[in-house]
């Protein structure tokens, strides 16, 4: 084990795969000479050269589509899209081609590509630069979407994504890049499609992914200290496929749940989780499943408005307390 930042863990995974497999190459805006907008690819151009670390013009639709095509011939492109907001320019190529080629041609062609892209608000970047639209991709059969919340998973899931024969979108998060944690020294990929219990508990289940899964852990620790509440945290880490069994098993044990998400509430990822709990743990539930999500507005620039619109640890704590109050009244 070595303590690494989320940023370094992603970098390590890219470097490992570039060294291991000649067919892996990186492309994206400013990833080479500029070393990446968020410096994930720092040093890789020097080490692997411009053939393997390819700077692109600002042309998301073009280079993402080109990655699909290169993958169809067996290369393993890893595309960096500067933030998930700009992936919308490539939405067509991702949804209509990356996710379709395998099925539409009867399984004859594979698309072993990766799209790495960070989401996240909270940096006062305004309405178009603060969105969490991972749902758009998690909605689409044929896509795989993973959302690591700590450095160990960042490395292990990116390794898995690059080795996978399907298009995988790796959702990173601006607020997580500097977070640190223990990362195994080996290069074992994590299984895509499985959730992880990051804290065991008996009183309530917190379900989250990406940044909010890290927040959920902090919330659980605070609640243990202040309220003596023993929360279990389920880190989804894979949004498609979704590991419903792990979520349901946890709620069958705790009998209540709060879902934390950075995206919008209506039709969001949390809605799918809540529906899953309703399907799989209805008879075990002692309170409605609460969701804590971003306010449904184009995110304003002004700090007080932005802060109010984004889900916080305090919002989560309030939701947990209210849920447990409802449980107590029922029992």
């Amino acid at each position: 084990m070595t303590v690494r930042s989320y940023r370094e863990a992603l970098h390590d995974a890219l470097r490992t795969e570039l060294r291991r497999d000649e067919s892996v190459f990186l492309l994206g805006e400013e990833i080479g000479r500029f070393e990446g907008s968020y410096k994930i690819t720092a040093g890789l151009l020097d080490e692997f050269g411009p053939k393997r670390v390819r700077d692109t013009p600002i042309a998301e639709e073009g280079f993402t589509g080109a990655a699909v095509g290169a993958a169809m011939l067996g290369l393993r492109p890893v595309v960096e899209i500067m933030t998930i907001n700009f992936s919308l320019l490539a939405l067509d190529q991702i949804v209509n081609h990356a996710a379709k080629v395998y099925g539409m041609f009867g399984g004859q062609a594979r698309v072993p590509m990766v799209i790495r892209t960070p989401g996240g608000g909270g940096q006062q970047l305004g309405a178009t630069h603060s969105q969490n639209v991972e749902l758009y991709y998690a909605f689409v059969p044929g896509m795989k979407v993973v959302a690591p919340s700590d450095p160990a998973d960042a490395k292990a899931l990116l390794l898995a994504a690059i080795r996978d024969d399907d298009p995988v979108l790796v959702l990173e998060n601006l607020a997580l890049y500097n977070t640190r944690g223990e990362v195994p020294d080996h290069d074992e990929p994590a299984p895509i499609g499985t959730a992880r219990i990051t804290r065991t508990g008996t009183d309530i289940t917190l379900v989250a992914y990406s940044r909010m899964a890290a927040v959920a852990l902090q919330v659980a620790e605070r609640l243990a200290e202040t309220d003596g509440i023993d929360a279990e945290v389920v880190d989804l880490r894979s949004l498609r496929p979704l590991d419903r069994d792990t979520v349901v098993a946890s709620v069958r044990k705790t009998n209540c749940a709060v879902v934390l998400e950075d995206d919008w509430l209506t039709y969001g990822i949390g809605a799918e989780v809540a529906a899953t709990i309703s399907d799989g743990a209805f008879d075990w539930l002692d309170a409605p499943v609460r969701r804590v999500a971003m306010a449904e507005v184009p995110l304003p620039y002004a700090k007080p408005l932005e802060t109010a619109a984004l889900p916080s640890a305090d919002d989560a704590i309030a939701a947990v307390r209210q849920t447990l109050d409802a449980v107590a009244r029922r029992r």
Partner: protein, 360 residues
């Protein structure tokens, strides 16, 4: 149709008396100095954490700002990029309101909702800065369509960066404009870089104005460090646009600092940075006007003091303008009120359970 670097059908500026011309030359200088001081003040406020988010400055672009803005009629529309503070000022928006937007306050041009990248002002027909690269280009094309549709004499000027010419929407828009004979001038502000990538590294045709040839559109490249050259070129382009011939103009200038305030621009060599500083358009223009006898040392100092005072007042105003109240968070989701709009803060439940626990 070949591109018209040689500018064959340039419309002569209406004959004006020399005094008025001198006034315009001085007005360019005042404008350039105001933009320079404003941007320096913005950079300072950013490092003092009074401004957040991304903050892209027009440092090095002042001559283009001044020449372009002066060439527009008041009824023309301007679409900008996220690098738009200077254009907002030059379009006539009060510096107080531009600065207040940077501070995210209620008196800001966008009420604190947009920030540095998203200024908008209907009164001056400043149709917005846009943070998505290329996002403004189809919108500006549509605005030109609206003018043509209604039959008006106005035109649209759409700013974009050199790097933005590689976005698909740029090409789609130029084709539409040419096909529909729209009254629009696309202005590529070529500052040599898109973040850290040079024009040559990103564009297979680095003479960007030549891209117009693919759409049989008139085009030209002009020295963006010379406000008079920019002014003349924009007037020429607008004359064509108003007659239904859209135009692609490329202005060439430098970006004196990083891509945004937080970018140390380490990818640029010392020599490059020094060369840029030596070609500083504000200083060069001052020398030129000085040589022509239009500027004296006293006047230079006076103009500078004026700009500094204006900018200080703007910062003071911004500092004292109120923050938007959280109760206004849901005010701008829909223009037409609609039942069941989700007006809920993150911690609020969909269906609140009453305190006594008994469902209603």
């Amino acid at each position: 149709m070949p591109t018209s670097t040689s500018a064959p059908r340039r419309r002569r500026r209406p004959p004006t008396n020399p005094a008025a011309d001198d006034a315009q030359l001085l007005a360019f200088y005042r404008q350039m100095v105001l933009v320079r001081r404003f941007e320096e003040r913005a950079a300072r406020a950013y490092t003092e954490a009074r401004i957040g988010g991304y903050c892209h400055l027009n440092l090095g672009e002042e001559a283009t700002v001044a020449g372009l803005a002066a060439a527009l009629d008041p009824t023309d529309y301007l679409f900008a990029t996220y690098r738009e503070h200077g254009y907002a000022l030059a379009r006539g928006i009060a510096p107080e309101r531009v600065m207040a937007e940077l501070y995210g306050r209620t008196d800001g041009v966008s009420g604190g909702w947009g920030g540095s990248m998203h200024m908008f002002d209907a009164d001056t027909r400043f149709m917005g800065g846009y943070g998505i690269v290329g996002g403004q280009v189809p919108l500006a094309t549509g605005a030109a369509l609206a003018i043509e549709y209604r039959g008006g004499g106005e035109a649209v000027v759409c700013l974009l960066g050199d790097g933005t010419t590689n976005i698909g929407a740029f090409h789609e828009s130029l084709n539409l404009a040419a096909l529909w004979h729209l009254p629009i001038v696309y202005v590529i502000v070529n500052n040599g870089l898109g973040m850290g990538t040079t024009v040559e590294q990103a564009s297979a045709e680095p003479e960007l104005h030549r891209r117009a040839a693919a759409y049989r559109m008139d085009s030209a490249r002009v020295d963006g460090n010379d406000p008079t050259a920019v002014y003349d070129a924009v007037r020429t382009a607008l004359a064509g646009a108003r007659a239904g011939r859209p135009y692609l103009l490329e202005t060439v200038s430098g970006r004196l600092k990083g891509h945004s305030v937080v970018d140390p621009a380490k990818y640029r060599s010392r020599a490059e940075a020094a060369a840029l500083a030596a070609a500083d358009p504000v200083a060069a223009y001052a020398v030129r006007l000085h040589g022509a006898g239009l500027l004296t040392d006293e006047l230079i100092a006076e103009i500078d003091a004026d700009a500094t005072a204006t900018v200080a007042a703007a910062a003071d105003f911004a500092e004292h303008s109120p923050h938007p109240d959280v109760s206004t968070l849901f005010d701008h989701t829909y223009a037409t009120p609609v039942p069941n709009d989700a007006r809920r803060l993150p911690g609020e439940p969909l269906f609140p359970v009453p305190a006594n626990g008994v469902p209603a």
